[in-house]
């Protein structure tokens, strides 16, 4: 008997089961072609057949889309039922007897295929989908041998046999830089339209016309793919069974012959992808359907924006120079490494052991990050290590550790499927975390409610078939006041979950908190004056969150990057605890992490005060664990954080820095201060793919490797440890972990790693939350969420299930304190910053891809009223000035921002939004206050003096001498 069979991961798991999995726990047994099959109730006959290993022919069905029943190829016969039902739309029934291959259905299928093929160009041999075409496969499967119909009226010939123009012919649309739409090859199965709706949630595609006139169409009449709402996520291309929607890379290079499962190196969603190749030439990246973070979906960055790996700007040879005013000199790896090691040791002998340090990369693997902090702590002999999380989610670490006991989000991404009310605060998921946003939008379309707390009307507030119940457009810098007001409403109206608080938290502590928060100064009416949020709207939102079922909170850098960032994180934790929204599916506190491995970089001990696993360096027992394995002693005092390193450099006590995969000059606030710090150092080592902005101040450039060129792991925002697999040899000669090891060994470390798996073994041996993690396990399981140890052998999809990591959850008093950054007559507007879908972070990768067609420069969003009083028209250059600096960029007039607020992105070095931002920071962690800067905007007469000086210096600094013969 064939029993219920789980889909295997064979052939990289590419078997399409035809329709989605049923979540029912009631099992139904039926007979298909003589085999007994037991499947969950609600499963389609098509899927049940696939579970039994029997594939029913299909064209319009796919297991990531709801059944549609249009192609009529999947018809079957069911005993006792009349006719030939479509197996995709027919649910299984107990005792059902199904025949998938009767003479009747075979004849029907052949007839259907014959009709399809009669209106399809038979150019298979030269077609881009040759060998990867379901129409071709199905024609073969049903045994189609001849086509009796003549294609008199058709969609694929530009001219008919008498030479007249065929009005049904639509030429190919190649407006999108990454894929083409060729209507001549379309069979109108609607899979692309459904993928755009169901998977991506953008609704950019539709079927126009009826009958023979039915056509797939992007946007409204006259639109092409580029001008439509299409976000280029690739879901339609993935869904297309023919060459109608086809990657341009496949058209150019041919169909790939092998694939390797790996993890995307863009945002913190951490999507699993199949890298598909010919030899070592990457042909395309396709989302991996068994990836547990993305469940087969992707965005424009991970799916298409990988061309930077081969960009001509990439530096492949090490370079050194004595002074930053010199041109670069290409040298051998040996020379570069020994030059660097000597220089660093010289600095230490002259200026002390603590005069150097380093920055780990949130774009590199866990293993690489672990090695960099190990080199700093054990080879350099100090704790001057930090990472880009300093400038993004360090308050998350502090806040969640204080309240819950663990510095991480509480849920997995699947959890969103069971949420009923979502609060999104300070995050713009459709741009920053698009694949998560698609999963969220799917849940919202199914009826979940949404509250958005954001100064801007982001796309998630209102878009196709989505509308937030409440948008609270607060003034930047007032997060704590708004969250405290929400808590005030919940507590004063008695809407809290008393049982949860009594069992999971300390009741006396809550009672003290309740007394604090019940004070009238926290009421929405009292805070409205400073937050700008309508009191009634806030009250309604608070009630909805407290009473609407499973409540989840998702947040981003709009929460953390404030002078009260840590306090805001704790206010979020308070809200989740008081409403009992922790420890199960559909709830939780969910930080949306910016970079692919920010979580991992923090886990791996990148912070100057913490060894791997978030244990303070002053803890003797922890230091002993590492000292025993490393064979060196570890400094028990915390090291310098990034802003402190820059301060110390200006003070003259910090002289050398090793920066792996991070561009602090562009990404960190108060650019002039960063410049001054870097310029004051005597040895700046940049280890990166490109001559980034920081490299303008570097003395050593060590070429980096891309995520395609190395083995390792990334840990995403849901604590999921996912494999990164080497699909090609490093073009620069070494994976990044090897480069770090070369440098450490040149400084007498004697490391002997030959594969990143050995580094993971060392991490597991030293870090309790990773105790049971190893590469063999990841090969079998695919991925695992930490903590993964003897207590949680299968990892931890949801945290704090029975109790908090710290024991009882802690309520924290969250008094609102206004930032020192205040508007006034000179700087009357508030600038807040963010990112856009097509570009990523400082843009080093995405600017070197076709993604720039969507966003070629940073724009300043300004409200029509603020623009009008300044005489600014849309598209004009404006001068943006703060007390820190000034720059010039183009204005975009929009009511997406409120009056008094302006907004821009920081993707382009020509703009350098961070020359405007200040050195104010979070009270607990020094995380910079990027999100609030008082500014003035005025019409501009050209680039600012600073921009001109900066560009001149950058050009001068990037000169490379021809290599010596």
């Amino acid at each position: 008997m064939k029993d219920f069979i789980l889909p295997t991961r064979m052939a990289n798991g590419d078997i399409d089961m035809g329709t989605p999995r049923s979540k029912s726990t009631n099992m139904v047994t039926l007979k298909i072609d003589g085999f007994d099959v037991t499947v969950p109730e609600g499963t389609s006959v098509m899927r049940a057949s696939a579970e039994a290993g029997i594939q029913v022919p299909k064209l319009c069905a796919s297991d990531n889309l709801e059944a549609f029943g249009s192609c009529r190829l999947c018809v079957v016969e069911i005993e006792g039922r009349r006719g030939t039902p479509a197996s995709c739309t027919t649910p299984v029934g107990e005792g059902m007897i199904v025949k998938t291959q009767s003479s009747k259905v075979k004849k029907i299928r052949k007839g259907v295929m014959e009709l399809y093929i009669s209106d399809h160009p038979l150019d298979c041999l030269t077609c881009a989908a040759n060998g990867d075409c379901e129409l071709q496969d199905m024609a073969g499967m049903v045994g189609l041998r001849d086509v009796r119909y003549e294609a008199v009226a058709n969609h694929f010939e530009a001219r008919n046999s008498s030479g007249d123009v065929n009005t049904q012919f639509i030429p190919k649309d190649d407006s999108n830089p990454y894929f083409t739409y060729d209507p001549a090859k379309c069979i109108v199965c609607s899979r692309c339209v459904r993928a755009c709706e169901e998977v991506q949630g953008t609704f950019a595609l539709t079927i126009t016309g009826t009958g023979f006139d039915s056509r797939v169409s992007a946007g409204a009449g006259g639109d092409d793919f580029m001008s439509s709402d299409c976000v280029s996520c690739g879901a339609c291309v993935q869904a297309c069974p023919t060459a109608t929607l086809q990657e341009k890379s496949v058209i150019e290079m041919g169909t790939p012959e092998r694939s390797v499962i790996t993890t995307c190196a863009y945002c913190g969603v951490g999507c699993s992808f199949k890298a598909e190749l010919n030899g070592d030439e990457l042909v395309r990246m396709t989302p991996y359907k068994h990836g547990e973070a993305n469940r087969g979906h992707s965005c424009v960055k991970g799916r298409f924006a990988w061309g930077y790996a081969n960009h001509s700007d990439r530096i492949l040879d090490p370079m050194i120079r004595d002074k930053i005013t010199d041109p670069w000199r290409e040298v051998s790896w040996d020379e570069a490494i020994s030059y660097t090691a000597t220089k660093l040791r010289d600095l230490q002998s002259k200026h002390g052991v603590k005069s150097i340090g380093g920055i780990t990369s949130s774009r590199c693997t866990n293993e690489e990050t672990y090695l960099v902090q190990k080199m700093i702590r054990s080879t350099f002999g100090n704790n001057n290590t930090d990472t880009c999380a300093r400038v993004c989610h360090s308050p998350t670490g502090y806040g969640l550790k204080t309240t819950f006991g663990t510095s991480a989000g509480t849920q997995n991404f699947d959890s969103v499927e069971e949420t009923d009310v979502v609060i999104i605060i300070g995050a713009n998921p459709t741009d920053g975390h698009p694949v998560f946003a698609s999963r969220l939008k799917k849940r919202l379309r199914a009826g979940a409610k949404l509250i958005v707390i954001d100064p801007r009307r982001t796309d998630i507030v209102k878009s196709a078939h989505i509308e937030a119940q409440h948008h609270l457009p607060l003034l930047p810098g007032t997060n704590v006041a708004v969250l405290s007001s929400i808590a005030h409403v919940i507590v004063t109206e008695g809407l809290m979950d008393e049982e949860f608080i009594r069992t999971r938290c300390n009741w006396d502590e809550f009672a003290h908190y309740a007394e604090f928060i019940s004070d009238l100064r926290h009421s929405p009416e009292a805070t409205a004056m400073l937050t700008g949020v309508d009191a009634q709207e806030l009250r309604a939102a608070a009630k909805l969150f407290a009473t609407g079922g499973n409540g989840s909170i998702y947040y981003g850098l709009g929460v953390t990057e404030h002078s009260q960032g840590s306090t805001t994180v704790m206010a979020i934790a308070n809200l989740a605890m008081m409403t009992g929204n922790l420890g199960k599916n559909g709830v939780g506190v969910n930080p949306l992490r910016g970079q692919n491995n920010v979580q991992g970089a923090c886990d791996m001990g990148s912070f100057p005060h913490e060894l791997p696993g978030y244990r303070h360096v002053s803890d003797d027992a922890t230091r002993e664990v590492f000292e025993a394995i490393w064979g060196t002693t570890i400094d028990p005092e915390p090291g310098l954080r990034i802003p402190n390193m820059l301060d110390a450099a200006v003070d003259g006590t910090f002289k050398g820095i090793y920066i792996q995969g991070e561009d602090i000059l562009q990404s960190d606030p108060d650019t002039k201060h960063v410049q001054a710090g870097l310029a004051a150092m005597e040895c700046v080592i940049v280890h990166d793919l490109f001559l980034n902005e920081t490299a303008n101040y570097a003395h050593v450039f060590l070429p980096g490797s891309t995520f395609l060129e190395k083995d390792g792991t990334f840990t995403n925002a849901e604590r999921r440890i996912n494999r990164v697999r080497k699909v090609m040899a490093p073009k620069n000669g070494y994976a990044d972990w090897e480069v770090t090891m070369l440098l450490a060994n040149a400084m007498n470390s004697g490391w002997t790693y030959t594969h990143p798996s050995q580094i993971m073994d060392e991490i597991a041996a030293t870090t309790p939350g990773f105790a049971n993690v190893n590469y063999e396990m990841l090969e079998t399981r695919g991925s695992v969420q930490w903590p993964c140890n003897d207590d949680n052998p299968d990892g931890s999809p949801i945290m704090h299930v029975d109790g908090f990591a710290r024991g009882k959850g802690q309520f924290i008093i969250t008094e609102y304190v206004a930032t020192d950054e205040k508007t006034g007559p000179r700087f009357p507007l508030l600038l807040t910053t963010g990112r856009i879908l097509s570009q990523y972070n400082v843009g080093a990768q995405t600017r070197r891809t076709e993604n720039s067609v969507w966003h070629e420069e940073d724009l300043l969003e300004i409200h029509p009223h603020d623009a009008e009083v300044r005489g600014i028209r849309d598209g004009q250059y404006v001068r943006l000035a703060s007390r820190a600096g000034e720059t010039q960029l183009k204005a975009q007039i929009t009511d997406r921002v409120s009056t008094g607020v302006v907004y821009t992105t920081f993707h382009h070095p020509d703009t350098q939004a961070n020359v405007i931002t200040t050195d104010y920071s979070d009270w607990a962690t020094n995380c910079p206050e990027y999100k609030v800067t008082a500014v003035q905007v005025a019409l501009s007469n050209g680039p600012s003096e600073w921009q001109e000086d900066y560009n001149a210096q950058a050009e001068q600094s990037r000169r490379i001498l021809p290599a010596a013969e």
């Binding site: 502590e509 306090t567 915390p638 310098l640 402190n644 301060d647 008093i813 920071s921 009270w923």
Partner: protein, 72 residues
């Protein structure tokens, strides 16, 4: 690091702990500084305190003194 920056950072920390229910608020400020501040930053703080610690709020001042009194 300028005295202004030292003042701003420690005053921010003190402002938070001022609102907390802990009995020993100055101890909380001192612990926070001990946990996160690198020794040379504490040395700069010591210099600032020697010249009076002007600009520090009373709690920030007390917390600063307490961290400097802690054994290394």
């Amino acid at each position: 690091m300028s005295p202004d920056k030292i003042n701003r950072m420690i005053n921010q920390i003190a402002t938070f702990f001022e609102t907390q229910p802990d009995a020993d608020k100055a101890g909380c400020v001192a612990d926070h500084l001990k946990e996160f501040w690198e020794p040379r930053m504490l040395e700069q703080l010591a210099d600032h305190m020697k010249s009076g610690g002007d600009g520090l709020s009373p709690l920030a001042h007390e917390g600063s003194q307490r961290v400097l009194d802690m054994p290394a």
